[in-house]
């Protein structure tokens, strides 16, 4: 069909490597703008550190707020990478090709950003040395392995290492391609990174094998990360809104939901910014859209379970919590927004093929999803604390302070900046995958129709 044009290798190289080899003006503008926001956030963090956590809107008993919400949010986004590249790689889904790297890169940067937040949240990050890194100075005490907050860093750092490695391995052939197209210092650096890639069959086999192995090995990590994040809450027997057995799968599937949506957002941006219409095609949006319907619905099922069983025991305080979530200002508004944006607007739209193949619509719906998923985390964390246990005397409210809002905003800029810079030095669409796709695509004639097909080795 017309949207799957045949492309020569030279064409592919030219199209996919140009952002690396030439720099458009808008790139510098974007970097500057994002940089400003990021440094504003840094200033806010500095203020926080210097004045103490009091600058936040937190209080007693609402000790966790926007920063933790955002932490969970970014960890969630980071599940896009593995979800797509690993699973789709293993299932040999053809449409994965143009989006895998974007997804993996998104993983790396969002995860790194997420990792910042618990540290900032504590208000005295220099003390988190105690907590994140096992150390044993004078006092002979190691971190408390019973604490989910110790599981967290280990899981996150494993995941970060794994996905970084993942990106690197899949990047190798393209690094070589860049090496061959650059001169001077860039050339040196690329040659160093390319690890002497020559594209021999053996190297290809090894690279492919590494890819498969990494995908297989990283899957458990990927599940464990968000499960553990969920257990930060699920283990807390005292916060009845959190102490639910469904939390781990609920968070993971929610993470996949937001992550895949984020990838869609990113794909649309790539298609527009880098003019990659030939590579990121509407059929890809169609496929990922179908995936999103399934994921979103599965997520909604778990959400329903979580809410239903919140009321299950009908303890007055738990009912009060749900009442607060649904009926009390401002949660009621947030709840409505959350439901609309995370499910009830996008999913029905995605049911239409036209919508799935409309890039602009997919872009905006995917953005909506992530608005909703941020709200979801907020609606889990804050009301749960605001209605903790039967002590109606203590039930409180939480309003974020400008400082918090600034830091949250900056986190988005930080991730965007990271990906932008990455796109400047490495191709965001894997060149080798694109070429492989070209090789393997075939067609079958059935009666008068030609059906797009792919070649599978026996």
């Amino acid at each position: 069909m017309q949207e799957r044009r045949d492309l020569s290798d030279r064409q592919i190289n030219r199209d996919l490597l140009w952002p690396v080899l030439y720099t458009p003006l808008w790139f510098w503008v974007a970097v500057l703008a994002l940089g400003l926001v990021v440094s504003a956030g840094a200033g806010a963090a500095a203020w926080w550190m210097n004045k103490g956590p009091g600058v936040a809107g937190l209080n007693r008993p609402i000790m966790w707020g926007h920063l933790i919400v955002t932490f969970v949010f970014w960890v969630g986004i980071s599940h896009a990478g593995v979800m797509l590249s690993a699973i789709l790689r293993l299932t040999q889904a053809e449409w994965r090709r143009p989006m895998v790297r974007a997804a993996e890169v998104l993983t790396v940067f969002s995860l790194a950003t997420a990792a910042l937040f618990p540290l900032l949240h504590s208000g005295r990050p220099w003390r988190t040395l105690y907590w994140v890194f096992p150390y044993d100075f004078s006092r002979g005490i190691w971190p408390n392995v019973r604490s989910p907050l110790v599981w967290d860093p280990s899981a996150i750092f494993t995941y970060l290492t794994g996905s970084a490695l993942f990106v690197f391995v899949t990047l190798l052939p393209d690094l070589a391609a860049l090496r061959d197209r650059t001169t001077g210092i860039p050339h040196r650096i690329y040659s160093l990174l390319a690890l002497g890639w020559r594209g021999t069959p053996r190297q290809w086999r090894l690279q492919a094998l590494a890819g498969i192995l990494l995908s297989a090995l990283i899957l458990p990590v990927f599940v464990s990360v968000h499960s553990i994040v969920s257990w930060d809450f699920g283990m807390a027997v005292s916060v009845e809104g959190w102490h639910a057995t469904v939390f781990a799968p609920y968070f993971v599937i929610g993470a996949v939901h937001s992550g895949v949506a984020a990838v869609v957002t990113l794909m649309a941006l790539m298609r527009w910014l880098f003019r990659w219409e030939d590579y990121i095609r509407s059929e890809h949006f169609d496929a990922i859209g179908r995936l999103l319907i399934v994921v979103a619905t599965a997520w909604f099922f778990f959400f329903a379970l979580e809410f239903l069983f919140g009321l299950y025991l009908r303890e007055p305080q738990e009912v009060a919590l749900r009442q607060a979530q649904v009926f009390e200002w401002p949660y009621n508004l947030l709840m409505i927004l959350f439901l609309l944006t995370a499910y009830f607007i996008p999913v029905p739209l995605w049911l239409f093929r036209k919508v799935r193949r409309n890039v602009a619509l997919m872009f905006w719906t995917s953005v909506l999803v992530n608005v909703g998923m941020w709200l979801e985390r907020f609606l889990i964390i804050v009301p749960g604390l605001a209605r903790k246990q039967i002590f109606t005397f203590e039930w409180s409210v939480y309003r974020p302070s400008p400082i918090e809002i600034l830091m949250v905003t900056a986190s988005f800029a930080l991730v965007a900046l990271g990906i932008l810079v990455f796109a400047k030095v490495f191709p965001l669409v894997p060149v080798n995958e694109a070429k492989e796709g070209q090789v393997l695509k075939a067609e079958i004639r059935v009666g008068r129709r030609t059906v797009p097909a792919i070649v599978r080795e026996q």
Binding site: A45, W47, L129, P316, T392, F393
Partner: protein, 728 residues
């Protein structure tokens, strides 16, 4: 240590962005100290501490306390377990005494017309003023007891002039009533610990009224201290106070109708034949129940605001579960018919003849050593006195602990300037100190010598000794010493050289009595003994007395109120919060920051109003409202109080000072400024609960500074935190 910290910071800096590292370097030095070695700081106990017995002067009760002193600094106040009054217990205000001692805004040096001067100059100035104003000296103090009272008396006698004690919420009416019925001018004690029923009228005896610590201790015994016996507590109060909250039976009586209620109870007692014949005859002037016809519960129910069966129920309990005791005070007496109410309630004790019995009303002997007691003068007299000042008939005004500008803002404002030379003596410059010519920093009670014969006392002769527990923190001088020094310099004839000598002399004379709690071989040993025990008491020297009811008026004297009901729909009930009391606690952040007993509000003046009545006025919690009386208006934060009776609004006193230190200055508003100058018709005491008000929403809102959360904290019926059993 330092090095590792640096490295840590560098690490943080690298990990987080330069900006943060830059900020990170500005971690205060103290932060480093948190990095202590393995042992817990709490496991290390530093040095030895000393405990000194002395007298608590945070309110008029006069409890004995022990002060923990370490390295020359007073650290902690605890009750003196030996002291018969409070038996080792303290209240919130007593605990805060140390904070008063180290208050940052204590006067550092004497100020003469705003200029710091040294004590010699200050005393000389005062002395010269005394010389010039012989016979025109006016000494305004708080109610005084013990040796300082004697000194003050001697001072005014010799200098010629007036000595008057001032207290915003005076006990004049009660005193007058007791005097009328018993002939004694001493406040009685109530033996709650042994009572089976307590019936109190408006008296916040668990909060601030009378001798709260003593009676709280008794309350504990009254409730759960006697195996198989749990006391029954009935409380009649137009406001839902903390005391009312602790009552088994709370009768939300109409303001000013407490006396009628009491006589209605009397009616039932007589009717049921539960009253003592003699007392009943006196009350009815021998005419029997007919004399009380006007007080039959069914008749007065509407006026009292309590359904008749409730009155009868309460009366029956009171009459049947003996020994029972009836107490009266607080807003019940702050009406134009206050004396009537007081006598009516006191008579109840006679009816159930619990006077002078265990579990009843106990009389106190007069103070030991014939020491004087100077109670607060009635409001009416104070208005005259101020009038004289305005007219310039007072040459020298010495104010100590009498915050006239706060209690009588309008009168004082125009009267005080009429006095040529005004002297203020006190630790912190209060409202009245503003515009005084000479400000003398008074030593904190914990730095001073003195004695006190508590009133109401424990029922026997008691003299508490006050001694300095630390070296003066500010170069202050105790009130007594100021009078003695300045007086001697002015050539007055005064009994003692200084307060320490006065106290020693007191000890000497007690030693001469040869009885009491402290026995010793010689005077010196006796003195040490007294100081160690914190005082002297003789359980043998008990008070005697009876209460003889007077005939009840045929028709109950109706209370008068300022303001028409139509224009001012609400009764205004001012009350003393747990922490800052009548304003004395206002300077102390611990007490300002103490959640109120029923509303948990702190730091602000609030007005308690019933939700059902706030609703039509469009008032929500956190609205700033204007409380308007015929006399004026104040701002207050609305607190919707689910338990306060309709038709009543309550506002705490003690806020809205000018001066009194950083934590009290211009914080909240002064409810005294809107109280109409009505007085009890017979005693001239201020009827401070006789003002009617209306509320107006001002439009601004804010979060109420309260301890409770954002939802109405109801107990969840299925999951109560405080389960309730019907009987122990």
């Amino acid at each position: 240590m330092e090095i590792t910290r640096r490295d840590l910071l560098k690490l943080a800096g690298v990990g987080l962005l330069g900006a943060i590292a830059f900020q990170g370097c500005r971690i205060p030095e103290r932060e480093l100290r948190v990095e202590s070695p393995v042992a817990l700081p709490e496991d290390l106990v530093t040095g030895r501490d000393n405990w000194y017995a002395t007298l608590c002067q945070q309110c008029g009760a006069g409890c004995g306390i022990l002060v923990r002193v370490m390295e020359g600094r007073a650290k902690k106040v605890e009750g003196n377990p030996d002291h018969p009054l409070n038996r080792g217990k303290t209240c919130a205000r007593g605990q805060a005494a140390v904070q008063a001692l180290y208050h940052p805004d204590r006067l550092a040096t004497p100020l003469l017309r705003g200029q710091p001067v040294d004590w010699e100059a200050a005393v000389a100035e005062l002395a010269s003023q005394i010389r010039q104003n012989r016979g025109r000296v006016f000494l305004a103090t708080n109610p005084l007891r013990g040796h300082v009272a004697a000194v003050a008396q001697a001072f005014v006698q010799s200098a010629g002039g007036t000595l008057m004690a001032y207290e915003p919420l005076e006990d004049t009416v009660l005193r007058a009533a007791v005097k009328r019925l018993s002939g004694q001018d001493v406040l009685p004690d109530y033996d709650i610990a042994n009572a089976r029923t307590v019936f109190s009228f408006g008296a916040g005896w668990l909060e601030t009224w009378g001798s709260p610590v003593r009676w709280s201790w008794a309350y504990g015994v009254f409730r759960q201290g006697r195996p198989g016996e749990r006391g029954m507590f009935i409380h009649a109060d137009p406001r839902f106070s903390l005391t009312a909250a602790n009552a088994d039976l709370w009768l939300p009586v109409r303001p000013g109708a407490e006396g009628v209620l009491a006589l209605a109870v009397a009616y039932v007692l007589i009717e049921q034949g539960m009253a003592s014949r003699d007392a009943a005859d006196r009350l009815t002037a021998g005419r029997g129940l007919a004399a009380l016809a006007a007080y039959q519960p069914e008749v007065v129910a509407a006026q009292v605001g309590v359904p008749p069966q409730r009155i009868r129920e309460a009366a029956t309990l009171f009459g049947a579960r003996r020994p029972s005791v009836a107490m009266v005070g607080g807003s019940a007496l702050a009406h134009t018919n206050g004396l009537f109410t007081a006598m009516a309630v006191l008579s109840l004790n006679a009816l159930v003849d619990s006077v002078g019995r265990d579990g009843g009303v106990r009389f106190n002997p007069p103070p030991p050593l014939g020491l004087p007691s100077i109670p607060a003068a009635p409001f009416a007299r104070w208005r005259q006195a101020l009038e004289e000042m305005r007219a310039g008939r007072v040459g020298l005004l010495i104010v100590r602990g009498a915050n006239l500008s706060y209690g009588l803002p309008a009168e004082a404002a125009e009267a005080l300037p009429g006095v040529p030379f005004r002297v203020f003596i006190g630790p912190i410059a209060d409202d009245t100190a503003q515009g005084c010519d000479l400000l003398l920093p008074e030593a904190d009670p914990l730095e001073a010598w003195g004695t006190d014969a508590p009133e109401p006392g424990p029922g026997f002769a008691t003299l508490t000794f006050q001694q300095p527990v630390v070296r003066p923190f500010r170069q202050g001088m105790s009130f007594g010493d100021v009078l003695l020094e300045a007086g001697r310099a002015a050539g007055l004839t005064l009994p003692w050289a200084n307060m320490q000598e006065a106290v020693r002399d007191g000890a000497r004379r007690l030693f001469a009595l040869g009885r009491g709690s402290v026995r010793a071989g010689d005077e010196a040993a006796f003195f040490t003994g007294v100081l160690q025990r914190g005082g002297w008491w003789d359980t043998q020297e008990r008070g005697q007395g009876t209460l003889r009811p007077e005939p009840a008026p045929a028709t109950p004297p109706a209370p008068r109120f300022a303001g028409e009901e139509g224009e001012f729909p609400f009764h205004l009930i001012p009350f003393t919060p747990l922490g800052i009391y009548d304003g004395r606690g206002a300077p102390l952040p611990w007490l300002q920051g103490l959640p109120d007993g029923t509303t948990t509000v702190a730091w602000q003046t609030w007005v308690e109003i019933h939700p059902a009545q706030a609703e039509p006025l469009g008032i929500r919690e956190g609205d700033w409202v204007e409380v308007i009386s015929p006399r004026g208006s104040i701002r207050a934060l609305a607190y919707l109080h689910p338990a306060i009776p309709q038709g009543v609004v309550a506002v705490p006193v003690g806020f809205g000072h000018v001066g009194m230190g950083r934590w009290a200055h211009r914080r909240g508003s002064n409810v005294f400024s809107i109280l109409a100058p009505l007085t009890d018709t017979e005693t001239g005491a201020l009827a401070w609960a006789a003002t009617r008000v209306r509320l107006r929403r001002l439009g601004q809102r804010q979060r109420v500074p309260k301890f409770e959360g954002v939802v109405l904290p109801l107990q969840l019926e299925e999951r109560p935190i405080i389960p309730v059993v019907k009987e122990a």
